[in-house]
C-alpha cells in the first residue's frame, strides 16, 4: 500500500507549486505556530506525566522537568494487559480499514458512474447515516438490546462489523468526491477497448483514487481506534476488549490515575503514527500534475 515508485503518477515530477503570497503566508504560518503550541504542550505534558512517580504528579507550582523519571507507569500499564488490548485493536482496525475500503470503493464507483434505480435515494441515505455513526451514544441501550437479541454481541466480529458500518458512509463519500474529478473519458476508453467494469475499477479507478483511499483509510483507522461507546458496551470478554475502555479504566470509580492514564494514551498514539506514516503520505503526495491527463 505504500508508494510504489513505478506507478505512472509518481513518474511525473511534482510541479513547483506557487507559494502563498506574502501576507496570507505569514498569517497561515502564525496560525500554525499558535496551533502547534496548543497541540504540542498538552502532548509533551502528557508524556512527561507518564514518566512521573505518584508523588511528583501534583506539585504546586507545577514541575516541568525537575523530577526523577520512571517507567513504572508503563510497567503497570503493560502488566494490566494493555499490549493484548492493543494487539486486538490493531486487528479490529486493520480489518475495518480493509473491509470499509473494499466495500466503499465499488459503492462509490457505482454511485459516481452508473445509473440505477433509487441511486439518488440510496446516496442520500448514505449521507444521512453519518449521524448514526456519530451519535451512537444516544441510542446505546436500545442498540445493545438489539445486538444482543441478534446474538451479535461479545464476539470476535462484533466490533470490526460495527466499526466498518460506522466508517463506511464517510469512506464512500470521500472516495466518491475524488472519483468526480477523474475524467469519465478514461473509463469509457477502457470499456471501448473491451475492459469489463471490474477491470475499469481495478486498473483505472483504483490507481487514481489513491489519495482518497489513503484519506478514507486513515479516517477509518483513527475513527475505529478511538471509538469508545460501542467498544465499552458491545463486548465483555477480556480477550476482545479494545484499547479505549482499557485507557478509560484508569479514570475509574476510585479516581483518575494520571500516570497510567497518560502512559496508556501515549502508547495508544503509536499505531496511529504508524498508520499515518504508511497511509498519510498518500494524502500529502496525492495526485500530481499530468496524472489525470490519461
Amino acid at each position: 500500500m505504500t508508494t510504489n515508485p513505478s506507478t505512472p503518477d509518481r513518474a511525473v515530477k511534482p510541479v513547483h507549486r506557487r507559494r502563498l503570497p506574502g501576507i496570507a503566508g505569514i498569517l497561515a504560518t502564525g496560525l500554525f505556530l499558535v496551533l502547534a503550541l496548543l497541540n504540542l504542550i498538552p502532548l509533551v505534558w502528557g508524556v512527561l506525566t507518564s514518566l512521573k512517580a505518584e508523588a511528583d504528579l501534583f506539585k504546586f507550582p507545577p514541575v516541568i522537568f525537575g523530577f526523577q523519571p520512571t517507567l513504572a507507569n508503563y510497567e503497570r500499564v503493560i502488566e494490566s494487559g494493555f499490549l493484548q488490548n492493543m494487539q486486538v485493536t490493531v486487528l479490529y482496525c486493520v480489518g475495518t480499514v480493509v473491509a470499509a475500503l473494499t466495500l466503499a470503493l465499488p459503492a462509490a464507483y457505482a454511485f459516481d458512474r452508473f445509473e440505477f434505480p433509487f441511486r439518488k435515494t440510496l446516496l442520500l441515505l448514505v449521507v444521512a447515516s453519518i449521524p448514526l455513526s456519530l451519535g451512537a451514544a444516544a441510542l446505546l441501550i436500545p442498540n445493545y438490546i438489539y445486538f444482543t437479541r441478534l446474538g451479535l454481541t461479545n464476539n470476535w466480529f462484533t466490533l470490526p462489523l460495527i466499526y466498518t458500518a460506522h466508517q463506511l458512509p464517510m469512506a464512500i463519500w470521500i472516495i466518491k468526491g475524488t472519483l468526480e474529478g477523474i475524467p469519465r473519458e478514461l473509463d469509457e476508453a477502457a470499456v471501448a477497448d473491451g475492459a469489463s467494469h471490474f477491470d475499469v475499477l481495478r486498473l483505472v479507478i483504483l490507481p487514481l483514487s489513491r489519495s482518497a483511499l489513503g484519506a478514507a483509510g486513515v479516517m477509518a483507522f483513527v475513527g475505529s481506534w478511538n471509538e469508545f461507546v460501542a467498544s465499552t458496551v458491545m463486548v465483555d470478554n477480556p480477550a476482545l476488549r479494545p484499547v479505549q475502555p482499557a485507557i478509560y479504566n484508569f479514570i475509574g470509580y476510585f479516581g483518575r490515575e494520571w500516570g497510567p492514564l497518560t502512559a496508556s494514551a501515549t502508547m495508544a498514539i503509536i499505531p496511529i503514527l504508524i498508520i499515518f506514516i504508511l497511509l498519510g503520505r498518500l494524502i500529502v503526495s496525492g495526485l500530481t500534475k499530468g496524472s489525470v491527463k490519461g
Binding site: L57, E79, S80, V98, T148, R149, L206, D236, N237, G252
Partner: protein, 433 residues
C-alpha cells in the same frame, strides 16, 4: 495493491484465530462476573480481587472466574438491559444508585436460598449493619456490599499540626468554619495560596453535597415519603448558606463551582486545600501521593446534640443474577468473595473499609498502624453516623441538582432558598414526581 491484499488476508487470519481462541477459554464451570476492577491490573483493589479469585480457583478445581471488566458508570444500566435480554453475567456488582432498580427488576437472586440459610447466628451478626439491611427487601437478601464508601471530611494532618488545630476540636459547624478560616493561607499579594475547605460543585461526577449531613443531623430527610425532594428546608438553606459564604469569604475556592471530585483531589494533592469533602475509598490513593502520615479522615462535625452529623454512604453491592444457570456456584463464589478470609484481603491488600465486625478486631494491629486509622473511622462512622440513600424510589440526579443550586448561588448570584427550590422542582420533574 499487493501489500493491501496481504494485509487483508493477514487480518482475516488473525481475527479468525481470535475467534478460535475465545471459546477455548470456556471451561466446564465458568462463572462470569461484571465489575469495574481489572484483575490483571495493579491498583490495590485489583490486586486484592486477583488474589481472592486465585484462592477460590485453587480451592475449587474446575471452576473458573471470568471477570469481564466494565466501565463503572455504565455497568449497572447495562446489566439491567442484559437481564432483560437474558444475557447477564452470573455475578454482578451494583452501585447504590441503581440498587433499588436492580432489586425491583427481579434481576438479583435471593442469597438466603443460595448460602445465607446455612449461616450461624455469629456469621449473621458479623455482617449486620445499615448496608446489610439496605438490600434486605421482603425477607430476601438481594446483595451484600463489597465496597463501602463513607463520604466525610478528609484533612491534611500536617497542615492541621502546622496551624496548631486539633482535628478532634471540630465538634460543631462553627468550629469547622473557624478551622477552615485558620487554615487558609495568603501570599504577600493577598492571593490565597491554600484554602481551608473545598468541595467540588460540578454536575459531572457529583458526590453528595455537604449540605446533607447537617440536614440529616437535624432529623430532616432530603426526600419526602413520596420520593419528592426536600432540599429547601430551613436546615438545607442554612447549610448551603454556610457553604457558599465560605466561598464568599475566600476560605473556600470560587473556582470549585466547576470542580469535579477528581479536580478537588488533585488540588488537595497539590497542597492547595487543607480540608475537603472526601470518601474513605480515596484515602489510600491520596496517601500514595502525599505520604501516609499526611492524610486523615474524620467524621463530620456534630450539632451540639449528636457528636457527629451523619455522612452519606454509598458503595458497591454484589449479587447473583437471578437468570444464571449456575446460581449455586456463583453464590458459592460470592460467599467466599465477601467472607471473612476475603474481607481481610480486601482490607490489607486493597485498602478497603472492613465489611465484617470480626475483621475489625482480627486486623486491629493493621488498622492501628499509622495512616490506617481512617479504616476505623469509616467503620465506626458507617455503624453509627451514616445515611444511605433510599432505594424505595429512584433518586438519580439529586446530587447533580443540589450541586447545580450551589453553582447558581456562586456564579449567578441566585438567592440560596430560590436555588434550592428550583433544584427541588428540577429533581421532581426529572423523576416524574
Amino acid at each position: 495493491m499487493r501489500t493491501f491484499i496481504k494485509v487483508a488476508m493477514a487480518a482475516t487470519v488473525a481475527l479468525a484465530a481470535l475467534a478460535a481462541a475465545a471459546p477455548s477459554m470456556a471451561q466446564d464451570k465458568t462463572i462470569r462476573m461484571w465489575t469495574f476492577l481489572n484483575p490483571t491490573g495493579t491498583a490495590p483493589r485489583e490486586v486484592a480481587l486477583a488474589k481472592i479469585i486465585e484462592n477460590y480457583e485453587a480451592a475449587n478445581p474446575g471452576t473458573k472466574i471470568l471477570v469481564e471488566t466494565q466501565v463503572w458508570d455504565q455497568m449497572t444500566p447495562k446489566f439491567l438491559s442484559a437481564h432483560a435480554t437474558g444475557n447477564a453475567p452470573d455475578v454482578i456488582w451494583v452501585v447504590t444508585d441503581f440498587l433499588g432498580d436492580a432489586i425491583k427488576s427481579g434481576s438479583l437472586a435471593d442469597l438466603n436460598e443460595l448460602f445465607i440459610k446455612d449461616w450461624s447466628a455469629e456469621q449473621l451478626a458479623d455482617n449486620a449493619g445499615a448496608y446489610w439491611d439496605l438490600s434486605l427487601v421482603d425477607g430476601k437478601q438481594h446483595s451484600i456490599f463489597v465496597s463501602r464508601n463513607y463520604i466525610s471530611l478528609m484533612y491534611r494532618k500536617d497542615l492541621f499540626e502546622e496551624a496548631g488545630i486539633d482535628p478532634t476540636s471540630l465538634t460543631t459547624w462553627e468550629a469547622f468554619h473557624d478551622a477552615a478560616q485558620a487554615l487558609t493561607v495568603k501570599d504577600a499579594a493577598g492571593q490565597v495560596t491554600r484554602y481551608g475547605f473545598a468541595t467540588g460543585f460540578s454536575e459531572q461526577q457529583a458526590d453528595p453535597s455537604p449540605i446533607l449531613p447537617p440536614m440529616l443531623a437535624a432529623g430532616i430527610e432530603p426526600f419526602n415519603a413520596d420520593g419528592t425532594a426536600n432540599f429547601a428546608n430551613a436546615k438545607g438553606v442554612e447549610a448551603m448558606t454556610l457553604l457558599t459564604d465560605m466561598v464568599k469569604e475566600g476560605i473556600s475556592p470560587a473556582q470549585a463551582a466547576t470542580w469535579t471530585v477528581d479536580d478537588m483531589f488533585e488540588q488537595f494533592a497539590s497542597d492547595r486545600v487543607a480540608m475537603i469533602q472526601g470518601p474513605a475509598v480515596r484515602v489510600s490513593t491520596l496517601q500514595a501521593k502525599l505520604g501516609a502520615d499526611k492524610v486523615g479522615l474524620m467524621m463530620w462535625p456534630g450539632d451540639g446534640v449528636a457528636a457527629h452529623s451523619p455522612a452519606v454512604m454509598a458503595g458497591w453491592a454484589v449479587g447473583v443474577w437471578s437468570g444464571s444457570p449456575i446460581k449455586q456456584e456463583a453464590g458459592n463464589f460470592v460467599e467466599y468473595m465477601l467472607g471473612s478470609e476475603a474481607d481481610k484481603i480486601w482490607v490489607t491488600d486493597g485498602g478497603q473499609v472492613p465489611g465484617l465486625q470480626s475483621t475489625l478486631t482480627e486486623l486491629a494491629d493493621f488498622i492501628a498502624q499509622p495512616g490506617n486509622e481512617y479504616l476505623a473511622v469509616a467503620a465506626e462512622g458507617s455503624a453509627k453516623f451514616g445515611w444511605l440513600t433510599p432505594i424505595d424510589f429512584a433518586v438519580g440526579g439529586y446530587r447533580q441538582a443540589i450541586n447545580k443550586a450551589a453553582q447558581r448561588v456562586l456564579v449567578e448570584g441566585v438567592d440560596v432558598e430560590t436555588a434550592l427550590k428550583d433544584a427541588e422542582v428540577e429533581f421532581n420533574r426529572q423523576n416524574n414526581r
